[in-house]
């Protein structure tokens, strides 16, 4: 096991993929000479050269579409879009091409494309750099949506994404890049489409993913001090969603709080809640609850941004309220 950051873990996967498969290349804004806006690709240009680590113009729609075309042409492109906010400029290529071409061509075309981007708030970057829109992507059939919430997953899920014959979108939470953890660099790709229990507990299930995972684990610590045993489920893949793991947890705890940094209305948390209603209603001792970001463009000021996002204390408070222990 090696101690490294979430950023280094993602880089480790990129490096391994570039080393082991000549079809793999990386392209995106400032991935080369600059070293990546979040320094994920730092050093890769020097190691692999400008053919395989390509700086692109600020043309999100075209370089993502070029990723689609390159995948059709037999390569394994990894496209980095700086943040999910900028990815709105490439949604045409994502939704109308990447996600549809296999089906619309009657199964003839295959788009083995990996698109990585940073998502989420917490760095005082205000409303055009802080949103969590991965739930929108998870709405779309034809793509897989991954959101690593641990250092090991930043590597293992990215390696897994590169084995897929269809497009995979990897949402790396911007506030996690400096987080440290233990990684087995000899481990191969992890599994997509599988949620895991990060912490066991009998009193309620905290269901979350990505940047909210460390917060939910911190909330579980707070709750433990109050004698409440919270189970923490890390979804890891939003599409396809591992409903079985969610329902099995709810069957044990009988209460579910879904924590999601997206906005509450039409949120991914709403999807998780609906699946519990559909498949686990009779296991519940109370209504499923959601804790999402406040319905506001994420503001700049630290105290306002903090107040807009789920936090360990607000997660713990919501959990206590569900258990009728408000103190």
């Amino acid at each position: 096991m090696t101690k490294m950051t979430y950023r280094e873990a993602a880089r480790s996967a990129l490096r391994e993929a570039l080393r082991s498969d000549p079809r793999v290349f990386l392209m995106g804004e400032d991935v080369g000479r600059y070293g990546g806006a979040f320094a994920v690709s730092h050093g890769l240009l020097a190691e692999f050269g400008p053919e395989r680590v390509r700086d692109t113009p600020l043309s999100e729609n075209t370089f993502v579409g070029a990723g689609v075309g390159a995948a059709l042409g037999g390569l394994r492109p990894i496209v980095e879009v700086m943040t999910v906010n900028f990815s709105l400029l490439c949604l045409d290529q994502v939704v109308n091409n990447a996600a549809t071409l296999r089906h619309m061509s009657g199964g003839q075309l295959s788009v083995p494309l990996v698109v990585r981007m940073a998502t989420g708030a917490g760095r005082q970057l205000a409303a055009q750099h802080s949103h969590s829109l991965e739930g929108w992507y998870a709405h779309v059939p034809g793509i897989t949506v991954v959101a690593p919430g641990t250092v090991a997953d930043a590597r293992g899920l990215l390696l897994a994404a590169l084995r897929e014959p269809d497009p995979v979108f990897v949402f790396e939470h911007a506030s996690l890049y400096a987080m440290e953890g233990e990684v087995d660099e000899t481990a191969g790709p992890d599994e997509l489409g599988r949620a895991v229990v990060r912490r066991e507990g009998a009193d309620l299930s905290l269901i979350t993913y990505g940047g909210s995972l460390p917060k939910a684990l911190a909330a579980a610590d707070l709750l433990a001090a109050d004698g409440i045993a919270a189970e923490v489920i890390d979804l890891r893949t939003l599409r396809p969603l591992d409903t079985a793991t969610i329902l099995a947890s709810v069957a044990r705890t009988h209460r579910a709080l879904v924590v999601d940094e997206g906005w509450r209305t039409g949120s991914f948390a709403a999807e998780v809640s609906a699946r519990i209603m559909e498949g686990g209603f009779y296991d519940l001792d109370g209504p499923v609850q959601r804790l999402c970001s406040a319905e506001v463009p994420i503001p700049y000021a630290r105290h306002l941004e903090d107040a807009a996002l789920p936090q360990p204390a607000t997660i713990a408070a919501a959990a206590r309220a569900m258990l009728w222990r408000d103190g």
Binding site: P57, S59, T62, V64, G65, H103, S105, G106, R163, E164
Partner: protein
């Protein structure tokens, strides 16, 4: 259109154009009786562009087309029966009934659609060319789009990226003067598409899109330059659609005399007249060609009629491969 031409080649070009014309006339007829539904965008009047341009391509080259792509599909060699069956929505269609008229695909012929988001095919074409360049293949990618697409950001972005990376793309703008119902001059301040391309660093040339030999010559020249590693080229084929935008379009925005004026340079009529003038085509040849095309279209319709429907149980097939790593 007076340069000498080989008889076989001339008859081949003419037959391809006639096939597209008759195939689409039949498609319009079938649409009116409800055999074909959805949107149907006819290419009638523009046949010289697809047929001429396709002469410059090898089987290894890629084609990316628009939603008005029956002509490109047939000229690329997708069997008419597979195209017609697709328009019927049958399982023996070239996209297994998942795409319809606007989304024809044939991976063996490297025909990558059938794109119905205006401008949406250009970035994909750039990527296909990137894959060829990075894998040291000599192929070019022919990317068809209309004059409407030049208003899209994807046009400017894709030309720039292809030029920046010197990628083997021939951008083929089929300028039929209307973006659906909006004339070029009503949506572009700069209506010279070649100048737009040149501003992006892509050498361009305009060609008479009603003249199949002129299109062929320009496409061959463009493809040759692109194959030589000199980066992308743009070809603007000036053409006109004789029919409305789609079967739903009452065509209220085009002056009748404009339509009649363009019909006077019908590419099929013009080219057969040129062949006749050179003594390469006789009445009997035309009659034989029309009969053989009619038989081919009839066979295509029969194939579509006889084709099976995809079972509803297969509705979710080919959305996503089940994740490998699960």
């Amino acid at each position: 259109m007076s340069a000498p031409i080989g008889r076989d080649h001339g008859l081949d070009l003419l037959r391809q154009m006639v096939l597209i014309r008759r195939f689409e006339e039949k498609a319009a007829e079938l649409y009116s009786v409800g055999k074909i539904r959805g949107f149907l965008h006819l290419y009638i009047g523009e046949e010289a562009v697809a047929v001429g341009a396709m002469q410059a391509l090898t089987p290894e080259d890629n084609v990316v087309a628009t939603y008005r792509e029956h002509g490109q599909a047939l000229a690329r060699g997708i069997p008419p029966g597979a195209v017609m069956a697709e328009m019927y929505g049958k399982a023996n269609g070239c996209s297994r009934g998942r795409g319809g008229s606007m989304h024809l695909f044939d991976i063996e012929r490297r025909f990558h659609g059938g794109h119905a988001i205006v401008g949406g095919g250009l970035p994909v074409a750039v990527g296909l060319a990137l894959a060829d360049a990075m894998q040291s293949r000599a192929a070019v990618t022919a990317c068809f789009f209309g004059d409407g697409a030049v208003a899209e950001g994807a046009f400017a972005e894709s030309l720039n990226l292809a030029a920046l990376w010197r990628l083997p793309v021939v951008f083929l703008c089929e300028n039929n003067l209307y973006a659906m119902g909006t004339a070029l001059a009503r949506h572009q301040a700069q209506t010279d598409i070649v100048r737009k391309a040149e501003a992006a660093g892509v050498p361009g040339e305009a060609v008479d899109g009603m003249d199949v030999l002129a299109v062929e010559a320009a496409a061959r020249q463009g493809a040759e330059a692109v194959r030589g590693g000199r980066g992308p080229r743009l070809l603007e084929a000036r053409t006109y659609r004789f029919r409305a935008h789609s079967m739903y379009d009452p065509d209220l925005y085009r002056p009748r005399d404009e339509i009649e004026r363009w019909k006077a340079s019908d590419p099929v009529v013009r080219f057969s007249a040129a062949l006749r003038a050179q003594g390469l085509l006789a009445d009997a040849d035309i009659a034989a060609m029309e009969a053989s095309v009619a038989a081919e279209v009839d066979a295509a319709v029969a194939e579509a009629e006889a084709g099976p429907w995809e079972p509803v149980e297969d509705l979710l097939k080919d959305v996503c491969t089940p994740p490998v790593s699960r």
